[in-house]
Symmetry: C2
Subunit: 238 residues, 2 copies
DNA sequence: ACCTGAACACCGTTCAAGT
DNA sequence: ACCTGAACACCGTTCAAGT
């Protein structure tokens, strides 16, 4: 309370304390993830993040090579936060389910950065583990190398798709207008001529809202697993 | 060849002829689609397109409300170019296949703009027709309203996913470096410890290259249809 | 109706310089 | 090691003005 040696320095430090933790690579990535989830990925800029830390834009370049590398690091961070359990011994295609559930669960916690995951998942440790396990399950189900790779990719992409394409997502739009945008889209469908578009008119509501995300994700995973199971069943016959 | 009234005007027109067709909303959208497909969506900017037309950036604002509207129009253009056939009378889930084939086929011709389609498909006529038909088929297969909507969305999104997520896609990266980037990704997987990542090492090649896109798309559509068929089969039993 | 000029508030990034 | 200042080449967009 008393020993202020230099008011200027103290003020600076106080301001920084208000603005959050000290600048560091980790802190920058964390902040970027936060901004992406709350305001959309488009809101993430070097200058904006710098401002949040009360620092010059060029200061970030010490901790991060450039914006592309920051985006990649954001994707990596999300993937590496997935808790991938050990693959249970021998077993069926059902072993894919927990993998997808955990991946989707984590992505849903970072909708703003989910699209980044798509390009990074095979380049970072946790994603590689995930892919290795999926490939193993698919191999044991009898899929050849080509099919195995295709289906493993499809699995990871389905997870990404479920989250970015969820009925209420539209992560690019900041929260405030999101509801309104959704409603206007719904109204446009509901206003279609009912004789030519009976289904769309009837399903207008269900197309844009998702009152139970958990059920939606579970259904999406079911759909993927059902497809893989059916393809596996055809392996002998064709 | 003779009656030049004003050399300045003639030169201007000649220069414009070199730069392409006259400025118009249609021409702007066409040009933007072209740039997106060749250099990635990030290369599409108001100023860049204006430059291609040898015109001031502000000139574009006469033909297009703003950049967002331009992007939306690009998506609409791609969707409305899909040739949607009439839905054949009563029949099974197999009727979804031609719908998906035509959609995927068109998207594959515009990989740079495919991600735009995701947000516009339910707002433009051809996309609405596509959705209506998909919903009809799903309804006739016995899916309730909620499931119908989910699966129709999944169908459209799977098409988008197949194209943007195709092994060699990476549409954001301009052609030149694309091959190199793919190769470096492959090498990274191939260099993994073979005892912990046997599958990934083995499938490294198949994960990043796609020597037969047609087969890849067909497999993706098969996977989706197999999933839907299986879910339909479960409808009575659960 | 259609386009330009000037201006504003944003970007990412480099490079030399400070501490 | 870590940060700043100045500068550059880009963005989207508005507004008044030209033809």
């Amino acid at each position: 309370m008393v020993a202020r040696t230099n008011s200027r320095t103290v003020d600076r430090k106080a301001a920084k304390a208000d603005a959050g933790p000290a600048l560091s690579r980790e802190a920058v990535i964390d902040r970027a993830l936060d901004v992406a989830d709350r305001e959309g990925l488009a809101a993430v800029s070097i200058r904006r993040i710098a401002q949040d830390f009360d620092v010059t834009p060029m200061a970030l370049y010490w901790h991060v090579k450039n914006k592309d590398e920051l985006l990649a690091a954001m994707g990596d961070r999300v993937i590496d936060a997935v808790d991938v359990p050990d693959l249970p011994g021998p077993g069926g295609l059902g072993r894919l389910r927990p993998l997808l559930q955990r991946l989707v669960g984590m992505l849903a916690r970072h909708p703003g950065s989910t699209e980044l995951v798509q390009y990074r998942i095979l380049q970072c440790p946790r994603g590689q583990l995930l892919a290795e396990q999926a490939l193993t399950v698919l191999a044991e189900a009898g899929f050849d190398q080509q099919r195995r790779a295709e289906l493993a990719r499809a699995a990871l992409q389905s997870a990404v798709m479920l989250v970015v394409g969820a009925p209420g997502a539209e992560v690019s739009v900041p929260e405030p207008d999101r509801q309104a945008l959704r409603e206007s889209k719904r109204a446009a469908l509901a206003a279609l001529p009912a004789d030519r578009f009976p289904q769309l008119v009837q399903c207008a509501g269900a197309m844009f809202e998702c009152d139970d995300p958990e059920a939606y994700y579970a259904d999406g995973i079911d759909l993927f697993l059902a497809g893989v199971a059916t393809l596996a069943g055809r392996l002998g016959t064709s």
